[in-house]
């Protein structure tokens, strides 16, 4: 394919490149869709026409989209679906984003320490990471979420724990590579402490592949939150998240499919956009 030509062309103007440079047309659409979803989630309460937990039985339950006063209809408790989807976006994205951030910080810390120190520290830390990877990801998240107790914060913690080994492995292998570079030796000769070398020299140089891993992890975090909340081990009603909206909608699927289908579409659009951008991020980290 055209990987070679792309990287050669990109190398020339690498110095000041806008974030959207080098994205393929479909990836630009994905970036726009994801940006729109994030903006809607951020602006949430300003855009939502109703309180997401307000039950207006006078407007009717399980109304289809485009019914009077409700652009996307209502659910089984006569709550406005559009308002709930917006609030659900806030919940789901906050959990997925928070989980990825926690996973990144802890995972990179473990990986860098393991790679930089080596020896027994490295062996012990990475064996524990291997042990965590021996669980199917969803099973480990379920066990942690169930044992901490079902709520949004604990869902984020459970997903973050599952992501730690992935970040740790990437960070470790990059640190091993960087550790042998001349600039690290130069810093060491100049008397820099290990902490300073890692913070000032190593981390900035391993940033690209870690960012690519973060996008990938975010793409797993969104469906994980949805699955946990769907099983009742994540965000608890009445707080809407896309996952528990699907669970509630599924109970009334014989009467109306919209309350289940609409949050499912939101998840698919979000995950699809993220996975397209994950491809772009990986490509970019390989070029750099």
């Amino acid at each position: 394919m055209s990987v070679v030509t792309v990287s050669r062309a990109a190398a020339g103007r690498r110095a000041r490149r806008r974030p959207w440079h080098g994205l393929r047309p479909l990836e630009r659409v994905a970036a726009a869709v994801l940006a729109a979803i994030v903006l809607v989630a951020l602006a949430g309460p300003l855009l939502a026409p109703y309180d997401p937990t307000l039950q207006r039985f006078s407007d009717g339950i399980l109304q289809p989209p485009l019914s009077a006063g409700h652009l996307l209809g209502t659910d089984q408790l006569a709550r406005d679906l559009l308002s709930r989807l917006i609030e659900g976006a806030r919940t789901s994205l906050a959990i997925a984003g928070g989980a990825t951030l926690m996973g990144l910080v802890v995972g990179v810390l473990i990986g860098v320490v393991a790679g930089f120190r080596g020896g027994l520290v490295d062996t012990v830390l990475m064996r524990v990471m291997d042990a965590m990877l021996a669980f199917p990801a969803l099973v480990l998240a379920l066990v942690i979420a169930a044992s901490l107790g079902p709520n949004g914060r604990n869902t984020a913690i459970a997903i973050a724990v599952v992501q730690v080994p992935g970040f740790a492995r990437v960070a470790r292998s990059l640190t091993l590579r960087e550790r042998e570079r001349d600039y690290v030796n130069a810093a060491r000769v100049a008397g820099a402490s290990a902490t300073r070398i890692v913070r000032v020299h190593v981390i900035p140089n391993v940033w690209g592949p870690i960012a690519a891993q973060a996008v990938l992890a975010l793409g797993h975090a969104v469906p994980s939150e949805a699955a946990l909340s769907f099983l009742g081990l994540g965000v608890q009603p009445p707080t809407p998240s896309w996952g528990n909206m699907i669970a509630e909608g599924y109970q009334f699927i014989n009467k109306s499919a919209w309350p289940m289908v609409l949050p499912a579409i939101c998840i698919v659009l979000t995950v699809g956009s993220i996975s397209l951008l994950a491809d772009a991020a990986r490509r970019r980290s390989q070029e750099g």
Binding site: M1, S2, R127, V128, D130, A131, M132, A134, F135, P136, A137, L138, V139, L140, L142, V143, I144, A146, S147, L148, G149, P223, A226, A227, F230, L231, G232, L233, I246, Y250, I253, N254, A257, M260, V261, A264, I267, V268, V271, G272, S275, L276
Partner: protein, 318 residues
């Protein structure tokens, strides 16, 4: 080959033991007292203390862990808090159903992904390739349980073709078995079809550039033989490696899918145990799953070694 397998088994044993410690630790942070939960809120403190002693919860944690881990090699996974049944019995009742489902899903995923990969790689950047790339992106972007629910909506509720839940044993009624397994297995396979298809495409493109492919092409071999035999054999190593990882994903996602379709496998056993806070069951199922994941990885590695002699003989190539 034998020493290779034995060495790998030794490493894997270490991983499983560590995983059991991780699992034991994760379940220690449970809020509330299991003894109190069994007896209800009206039990006196003496009754609760007696129950704790009966369950062994009053002993130091390392001792409790050794008690749990010590039974595992003999097939003792503890006793369920709710029904009082041995966890091992519950797990061995559900495991065949889960394994059928997971292996069927993996077989479907491979059977669909390989032709997709070959069709894409035959003309990279062509119309077929672009269309299939779009298909694989969609199939991986829809979470497994959403695939499952959408299929229930479409095939059970709208067209009334397949049952939305329930399990029929293969021995009783093979057609009924297929009808009960079709939707859950396809739901589990779809995300993996995307992943395996894309990995296979990349691997095939790589093997197309190898000198042996130029040679095979110049011999005048037909395209089907060229792709399905020569290129695929070379590309099989990464496909097998990723299939091993997909096995773990499918096993995890099967937990949700079994619950949706009311298939009485170990996944549903575990979800039901969450609702009843029956921690011995959760612990037992999760531990069995780590063993399965680790064995799946070993099988994938052994297949890779079989396919690529360099790996088996420890030859390093640039």
């Amino acid at each position: 080959m034998l020493t290779y397998v034995l060495r790998r088994l030794g490493q894997l044993l270490v991983v499983v033991v560590l995983a059991s410690i991780v699992l034991f630790a994760a379940l220690q942070v449970v809020p509330g007292d299991p003894a109190r939960r069994i007896l209800g809120t009206h039990a006196s403190q003496e009754q609760v203390d007696a129950k704790r002693a009966e369950l062994g919860l009053d002993r130091p944690l390392p001792e409790q862990y050794l008690d749990f881990a010590g039974g595992v090699p003999t097939g003792d996974l503890g006793t369920s808090l709710g029904a009082g049944q041995p966890v091992a019995d519950l797990v061995s009742a559900g495991l065949p159903i889960t394994l059928q489902l997971v292996l069927l899903a993996l077989a479907i995923a491979l059977a669909a992904a390989i032709p997709i990969a070959i069709a894409s790689a035959a003309r990279p950047g062509g119309r077929v390739d672009n269309a299939l790339t779009a298909v694989t992106i969609v199939s991986t972007s829809v979470p497994t349980f959403v695939w499952g629910l959408s299929m229930v909506l479409l095939f059970s509720l709208t067209f009334k073709l397949l049952p939305s839940s329930g399990y029929v044993a293969f021995g009783e009624d093979p057609v009924g078995w297929l009808r009960s397994m079709a939707m859950p297995a396809v739901a589990l396979a779809l995300p993996s079809i995307g992943t395996l298809g894309r990995v296979g495409r990349a691997a095939l493109l790589e093997s197309m550039r190898e000198p042996f492919m130029h040679f095979a092409r110049s011999k005048g071999l037909r395209r089907t033989r060229l792709y399905f035999v020569h290129a695929l054999k070379h590309a099989a190593v990464p496909i097998v490696a990723v299939a091993g990882a997909e096995f773990a994903y499918i096993l995890g996602d099967a937990v949700v899918v079994e619950w949706i379709f009311a298939l009485p496998g170990t996944g549903k056993l575990m979800v039901d145990a969450f609702a009843q806070r029956d921690y011995p069951i959760i612990q037992g199922v999760a531990l069995v799953y780590t063993v399965l994941v680790v064995l799946g990885g070993l099988v994938a590695d052994m297949l890779s070694a079989k396919l690529d002699p360099r790996m088996r003989l420890g030859v390093r190539t640039a």
